[in-house]
Symmetry: C2
Subunit: 665 residues, 2 copies
């Protein structure tokens, strides 16, 4: 039997048999341990790896972008201009950045399940499990390991089929070493996002420090000197975030018929409305850029996922059964039906706030809830207002980020129109929260311009004022959020009780059965823990028959730029245009492989059988978007930056021989 | 009482009283006759006027664009480069272009209604009326008038309250004299469409010829030498296309809840999908440009109209009544309810073809219908396949316009997704026409790539082959169109019988009542016949309070371009950038007035009390889009090119003193 290159495998339960049979390569315990301990979880954002004995860290430019943003000054935007530290001393410390190296793991399933007795209710079982998990994490963290103190986390695998205790070595002095300009890191921008051929140097380098000095690293990945061959066996080691491969047919049908069409309806309209606003002038463009970029990315992803769901081959592996009464499948079916018949949309609009999609409303809602919830005993509060979460909630609430009135009016007008489009004739029941004496645009204008909560001092004043300050507030957005509360909470309760909880419980039940049958011969759904994927360097065919070669070159990038008349986002940075003659045009740029990856894998190293770096995974092609539900080898591809273009540009564009040398080439 | 500047008035029933009372100006019969006979219907596309005794015709660049396109060669794209004829001999004849000057009119209501007897059914009445109308048109056209032979058309006014026989002098030798570059004609492109301030020279000049010489014109509009004053009384004389001001509350509610949200849902997704395709590369951009431009324009219009419908003030003039049984209002309500409950959407998707939105399907459908319908007696055919319409239908069907496979796949994939989004779980009933073994993209790819009907010769072969050729065709798109026929025709019949017909009949009934009560003291809905609108030069306030001044300048255009870094569509043509220093920066560019206009008015002259040209209407602002339903003077504005910028650019940019002199300035 030949396996597809499927799976996000635990290092503890590697696909040894599959890789041996298909590729004739043996995954030894040493190889696995070395790769595992060279792998890094970069904050809670993505993946990375150690690439030198002196703590050099490689990740994606888009994974490190937040740090580049935070290190920028009004005079020097590091996202635009890139950055290179000529010496160790020039490397820039990233405040608050932590990276996690997985150094130990232990199966604690029995310990966790030992506290559960058959007579416990589902809620009691969960409570007991949570308690033992907290104890396990605390006890382990208190111990000194041979790598110093570790941070421990218990992760639920197989939807409750297993529990694993992971120990991470944490580095919290991490410094920026090098980043190219955004225009080459994300060359092709939204038009080329999730597409291939690609030409992105989506890479940045950081360095871990210990005691003020570059960290001494035992396990790091060497740079390959062998190049990449078509068909070659390759691995990706990283932290895939979340997959939903155990979804039942009925659950996928809900996603197919309701979730994605509704989500896309919102995204399409926003993309048009935000673009139109941005195209009016350059200042508008700047103000809306983040919102627009994120809408475009979500839209492309949703289109790809829906396209996957509408591909019949995806459904072939799902049995068409009539679920028995009281079976978990039946429970999922019923919960999906409840969601299907409007509960999901109502929850999304009124509790998740999509009906009032603007910062001003989000702030007003948080103020109202902060004041009312903190009046209650901790255990009775909405979970995001419990003591453990309050600190970070307040940080968000009182952050002084710029909010633009015109963007707020634009977004709120759109959402007020959205409610009316969705509810059509029946929105009259929204009289308590909608203003029928004004048009959506007029209401939005009044609400935004009259609200004062965009002022941080005012927010603090209201929060300190407590319930009276909220109840008798003259701020119309506070008043709106307050009037909305009973409606929103009702929808939340309905949704959590009738949809979320039964679905979660039913999947746990299903997973348990499946786990009892197959054990660890199958891989668990992604959970943002370290996984290994194997695959090969391999082109593919587009739906219309066009053949796509696996590797692009520097010449190809300049060719694409030229054909696009060097218009944004196809205009490489000045450094590349000036340095063009110095570059070897045949240098490989990006490549595609059959590895099974998903969001969270961004920044993972692409490795050969020697455990050496061949590249840096940064994206999937459009077909890979349905990896969420099922992996198909025919067209789904992982897209990586080729190792060679990193070295070539470090040396010839950025004058960073120091770093290229350190990478060992 | 002070009237709003409302109304698209018949020249035969002018707003003499209103203009006298509000502005103290008397509309004399001479003034009216002069303006009427200076006005032109430009083909069936828009409005225009005579502006010299030598047959010079002024219209919008966008109205004449089709002729510019047809006169372009691979070497010289007149839309891009503009055009100027240095001498009469250089003026370019426009093949097939006809312009219509309204020179006579006669109320024939009595003659038309005389043939109807009370015992006739609605259908019989209509047949008799159509017969007498055909006779009236034929008899009048046969007569020689003092202006030679005229072309006569009977127009239904007041939804059947009145019938008028219009006589048009037709010029069919029309030549292109001057057109600026598209980049200044439509400066600001989609982002500035329906917005203000504006800076467009949306103007082109043609000339009517008779017997190979410039036509001698008695009635033409002189160029004003007085400039334009804020608050000044102005008129627009032109051919507004269609308004729906007599819609009942229930009908508007259908538009508000169903028609526009559904239409926008389609437009938003198409705009995103077409843009995404276009942004991938420059060739894509070229291929999708027309589709994208038209979607953007429709979307902006629909957003504006829906915004108008969601403005409560619009509803204030509509009585909230409980319609009596058998009343026309009740009939409209019922028909709308039928449309509301799915019939409209099904009709739109399957009969209007939005479910298979691509050229290949349109052609296949036409071939199927052409063959089957022409087998039937003329009177039993679908109306577009009756003898009178066959010639133009065949012209469309056999035209060799470029069709791109990739664009076709893109559009068809989107529509196949649209059906599934709209019908959600219940699309299983579409098994006869949808392929459930392939994804929408895969089906679309197969259907498009395997169909041969994009080849004109193949189309002709199939059409000549008759029913056998259709029935046993191996072309999958022909087969799809054939399988769809019973479904599509059923929806068409349902919609026409249960929605369209009862609504039309009920409005005629309503209109008759209203006409009997008010007669000609109110103006009829727009019908693409000549109308006069009065108003004043006047700025307005945006919803957020921003004041908008009524007149822009050349300096303002350059300033906008500079602020937009001269990026498309804000990059004026080279001729303007090179000639900038020669231009007087204070020259007025565009201006807004309170005139009540709508689509079809494009190209209308803006006239002062002396009957002189002040400008050239080319657009409305975003608030004017609800003029379709109701005119509101507060923010709704007509946007015109100022006469001065036309002269300034003719002389200083285009070296067209010959023409500027002819315009008398």
């Amino acid at each position: 039997m030949v396996y597809a290159d499927e799976g996000m495998w635990l290092f503890e339960q590697p696909p040894t048999k599959q890789v041996q049979e298909k590729y004739g390569f043996e995954l030894t315990p040493e190889w696995l341990q070395h790769v595992q301990q060279s792998s890094i979880r970069f904050a809670r954002r993505g993946s990375a790896s150690f690439v030198s004995s002196q703590g050099l860290i490689m990740t994606n430019h888009h994974v490190g972008a937040r740090n580049l943003h935070e290190l920028s000054t009004p005079e020097n935007n590091l996202l635009e201009n890139g950055f290179y530290a000529k010496t160790f001393d020039d490397e820039l410390p990233c405040k608050g950045l932590e990276i996690f190296v997985p150094v130990s793991s232990e199966d604690v399933t029995e310990k966790v399940n030992a506290v559960v007795t058959p007579e416990m209710s589902a809620e009691e079982s969960q409570k007991s499990r949570n308690a033992v998990i907290a104890t396990l994490e605390k006890e382990a963290s208190a111990k000194e390991s041979n790598q110093g103190k570790l941070r421990y986390e218990v992760t639920t695998l197989y939807q409750g089929g297993a529990y694993w205790l992971y120990g991470y070595k944490v580095y919290n002095d991490v410094r920026l070493v090098w980043a190219p300009e955004q225009t080459i890191a994300a060359f092709g921008g939204d038009p080329d996002n999730y597409e291939y051929p690609r030409y992105c140097v989506d890479c940045s380098l950081f360095r871990a420090y210990e005691n003020g000095k570059p960290a001494k690293i035992e396990h790091f990945l060497k740079w390959s000197t062998d190049g990449v061959k078509d068909g070659e066996l390759v691995f990706v080691s990283g932290f895939p975030g979340k997959t939903e491969r155990s979804y039942t047919r009925e659950h996928l049908e809900f996603q197919l018929d309701v979730y994605f069409p509704y989500r896309l309806q919102k995204l399409y309209r926003r993309e048009v409305i935000y673009s139109t606003f941005g195209n009016r002038n350059i200042e508008n463009q700047r103000r809306i850029a983040d919102d627009l970029g994120s809408v475009q990315n979500y839209r492309k992803r949703a289109v790809g996922q829906l396209q996957g769901l509408r591909t019949p081959s995806l459904w072939k592996h799902l049995p068409r059964i009539t679920p028995a009464k009281d079976s978990p499948e039946k429970k999922i079916m019923n919960a999906c039906l409840t969601a299907y018949n409007g509960q999901y949309v109502a929850y999304d609009l009124f509790e998740l706030g999509e009906a009032f999609n603007c910062q001003t409303f989000k702030i007003a809602r948080m103020l109202v809830r902060l004041v009312y919830e903190t009046e209650k005993p901790n255990s009775e509060r909405l979970k995001e207002y419990r003591d453990g979460n309050l600190e970070s909630l307040k940080q968000t609430l009182f952050a002084d980020t710029p909010i633009y009135e015109d963007v707020e009016i634009l977004k709120l007008t759109d959402s007020l129109n959205l409610i009316r489009d969705v509810y059509r004739g029946s929105w009259n029941s929204w009289v308590p929260v909608l203003d029928f004496d004004l048009s959506p645009k007029e209401s939005a204008t009044e609400l935004i311009l009259r609200s004062k909560v965009r002022d941080v001092a005012e927010r603090k004043r209201i929060a300190e004022g407590g319930i009276k300050e909220i109840k008798y507030s003259g701020d119309p957005m506070i008043q709106l959020a307050l009037r909305l509360e009973p409606i929103a909470k009702k929808y939340r309760e309905d949704y959590e009780n009738n949809v979320e909880a039964p679905i979660t419980a039913a999947y746990a039940e299903l997973a348990k059965k499946r786990f009892e049958k197959s054990g660890t011969s199958v891989y668990p759904d992604a959970t943002f823990t370290l996984r290994l994927s194997y695959g090969a360097v391999k082109g593919y065919k587009e739906d219309d028959g066009t053949k796509v070669a696996p590797i692009t070159t520097i010449a190809g990038m300049f060719d694409r730029a030229k054909k696009q008349k060097f218009k944004e986002p196809f205009d490489p940075p000045k450094s590349w245009k000036d340095g063009k003659t110095k570059l070897n045009p045949a240098t490989p740029f990006n490549l595609v492989t059959t590895n099974d990856i998903i969001g969270g894998n961004s920044g993972s190293p692409l490795i050969n059988t020697k455990g050496e770096v061949l590249g840096l995974a940064f994206d999937g092609n459009i077909y890979s978007l349905s990896n969420n539900f099922v992996y198909t080898e025919t067209q789904s591809r992982c897209v990586s930056v080729h190792a060679d273009v990193i070295i070539e540009s470090l040396r010839k564009i950025y004058g960073a021989d120091r770093i290229a040398d350190e990478l060992g080439k």
